[in-house]
Each structure stands twice: as structure tokens, then as C-alpha cells.
Symmetry: C2
Subunit: 232 residues, 2 copies
């Protein structure tokens, strides 16, 4: 890899505990690839040829059902691994990853995974923590969709996005990538119509502000109280 500044990646969770020489060895097998806004890094059901670490930009990961309905699995922010089907023993990608802004990723061929892990076992240990966090997130979503009214689900989804990719500004915490009301609907198992109704009512109450592809949480504390059903 020619010009990547190693300090950009040495601090990533995947590489925790690795000596600099080992990191060199691992990075030597990667290339960095640019994915312009709107392109797919990989498609659902495509052969899992590579695994990735996002260096710059944001991705939306979506699953499409046989009858064409979409569910947003997660958003990927810089520093995260993704497309790690090979690490979980799966031959194909279970979802599609789309660049929602111009993005850059480190890309390894899947064939390198068994070799790299045999040589650097902490890669497997670190990946296990990432996958474990995602498993907890997924179970939290199952519990929310199963037991919560839609308004609370939307509040929880926005708070998680703010936690994952919030940028504090003068007028609140803005989610640091383009996100639409349709995305929020596909994260919370509801319809665009319902999300629009909820966000409009929250805007009137000064909780959030949303525009095309943009959501700002103006009053995170009040949104938290609402999500947790606490008295305001």
C-alpha cells in the first residue's frame, strides 16, 4: 500500500494490541479504494470476495426482501469493519453496502482472512467484539420492534444515530451523514407516513429539526425522556 498514513489506522479497534510490524504486515495486503457517493461497495447475495475497513465517508447497509421491501441494517462510520462475511464463515454478503457520501475503504481479499488470523489471532478476538456489539444492537432492535410503540422506537433510533455519528453544533446534535425520513422508517419497522407525522410533531415541540437528508436533535435530553417513557 503506497501512501496510507499508518497513524490513521493504528488506533482502530480491529488493530488493538497489534505491534507496529504486525500492522505493517496486515496493511500490506490491503488496498484503499474510493467509492463515489451512490455506488455500492457490494451487493446482497454477491460472493463475499473482500472484507473492509471504512477510512472515510459513510455507508448505509440494507437488506431487501424477496418482495422488494427494504430494511436498513445499520450505518457504517469511519473506523468500522464491514463486509466481514468471511470471518463468520459465510460465502455471500447478507446485505448491500451503499456509499451515501464519497467514501474510502481499506479492502482485503477474503482469501487473506484465514492466513492473517492464523498469524495475528488478535484480529479474531477484536472482530468478535465488533460482531458482539452488533449482535446486541440487533437484539435491542428486536426487543424495541416487538414491545415498543412506534414513537419510542423512532426516538431510540435517532438517539443511537446521534451516539454513533452525532456532531454537536449550536442548535443541537446533527447526524453527520445524509439521512432521510424513509431511512428512519426502514430502521424502525414503520412507514414513511408515520415517521413524517412523528417528526413533524417533534419539530413543533422543538425536539428535532429535519430537512431533506438531514436530521438535527435540538433537545437530546427531552428526546431521551420520551424514549425511556420518563415523566417530563
Amino acid at each position: 500500500m503506497p501512501s496510507l498514513d499508518k497513524s490513521l489506522v493504528a488506533g482502530l479497534p480491529l488493530f488493538a494490541g497489534l505491534p507496529p510490524d504486525d500492522l505493517d504486515h496486515i496493511l500490506r495486503e490491503a488496498q484503499s479504494i474510493r467509492y463515489p457517493k451512490g455506488t455500492a461497495v457490494f451487493q446482497q447475495d454477491e460472493e463475499a470476495h473482500s472484507f473492509f475497513v471504512l477510512l472515510h465517508g459513510h455507508l448505509r447497509v440494507v437488506k431487501v426482501t424477496p418482495d422488494g421491501q427494504q430494511v436498513v441494517v445499520r450505518f457504517i462510520t469511519p473506523g468500522e469493519m464491514f463486509g466481514i462475511a468471511i470471518a463468520m464463515g459465510r460465502p455471500r454478503y447478507p446485505a448491500t453496502a451503499l456509499a451515501i457520501v464519497d467514501s474510502i475503504a481499506l479492502v482485503w481479499p477474503s482469501a487473506a482472512w484465514p492466513r492473517l488470523v492464523a498469524k495475528h489471532p488478535s484480529l479474531a478476538v477484536n472482530t468478535l467484539q465488533t460482531v458482539g456489539n452488533r449482535l446486541q444492537d440487533a437484539h435491542t432492535r428486536v426487543v424495541e420492534i416487538s414491545t415498543e410503540q412506534v414513537e419510542k422506537r423512532v426516538a431510540h433510533a435517532l438517539l443511537r444515530l446521534a451516539h454513533q455519528a452525532g456532531r454537536k453544533g449550536e442548535d443541537g446534535v446533527q447526524i453527520d451523514f445524509p439521512i432521510s425520513r424513509q431511512d428512519v422508517a426502514e430502521m424502525t419497522g414503520t412507514t414513511l407516513h408515520t415517521v413524517s407525522r412523528i417528526l413533524s410533531s417533534w419539530e413543533e415541540r422543538g425536539l428535532v429539526e429535519s430537512g431533506r437528508q438531514r436530521i438535527t436533535i435540538r433537545d437530546p435530553h427531552k428526546l431521551f425522556l420520551l424514549a425511556e417513557d420518563l415523566p417530563r
Copy 2:
């Protein structure tokens, strides 16, 4: 560990690829504990003191919300790891594991995990596959609850249970552990009333048979067609 027959565990996914001497070393740190029907192996939010492999019996893993609603996370069948919070870097158990029949598990102190993994990296690699499978299951559930009508969700849940723990008999595939209609409701994000209505209608059509704590799929093929929305 005194009297455990090593052949019982040598074939488990967790121990795949381990030489017999390494397996001995790993098993030496475990004890086998019996959990009578109805007891908890661990409780949600309890400190994650141990990790486990189920040798015999069946467990139900449930998450309880702050307002007391329950969601069934999964059933554990013999040979599976569970309670592996430590492997995912979590200090507490995210759910409660209950023995639904008399059960026996191998139990390791969590403190042994980093040491065992450092010495036997394939433990981490194998665990990653287990956690990866659970992540896919959880996403499948998110997609189903978000996009499918309740009847299809219940059909998918029963087919998965039959796949995980089905025992073929003369009158169909019986789910090989006690399972109630309430459990099915807590697996599919619906109410006991709805599950009862669906199962009664399926019984009339000869698809399933269910009694107290018992479900038999009489016609798995028809149930599959119904789950997948294919013409019958």
C-alpha cells in the same frame, strides 16, 4: 474434570480444529454443572462470571424490558456455547438463560477466556462463526418483524425451531423441547391471542398440532409455502 467422556465434546463447533491435547487443556478448566428444570443459569444484568457450553437439555434465553415485557432471544440446544458475554467484551449478561428441562452445561470462569484464547486462537475463530450466525438470525428477525404479516412470522419461527431442534416422528416434525404459545408470541413480536388464533386455524388445516408445551409440524412443506408466500 473427573468423568466427562471427551468424545462428547470433541465434535462441537467450538472445538473444531483443536488437537486432542489442546482440548484436554481447555476442558481441564471447566466443570460440568446440572441445572434442574426451571432454574436460571444466569440472570440478565448479572456480572458475567462464566461462559458455557450446553451438554444436555434445553435453555430459553429471554430479555425483559424495564416495564416487564419479555422477548425470547433464542433457544439453546446441546452443543451450543452460551453466556459468552466475556468473548464480546461485555461485563454483564444481556439476557436471562432458563433451563426448560433438566440440563447440564460445561462452565468456565470468564477469567479463563483471555488466557485460553491466547493459547488456542481457534477458540476465537470458532466463536466468531457462532456469533456471526446469531447476528444473521437476529437480522432475519428484524427484517421479518419489520416487513412481514404476523402469520408468516409465526410460520418462519416454527420452521427455524424445527430446523434447530426438530425430531422427525410418524405424525410430522416435533419441536424437541417444551414450548408454549406464549413463547411463540415472544419470538415473533405478537400477542398470545394472535398466536392461538393462527395455530388453531393451522390445526384445522392439518398443518400443525399443538398441545400444552408441545408443537408438532405435521406438514412442513405446506408451512414452508405459507411462510414464503408461494402458491399452494
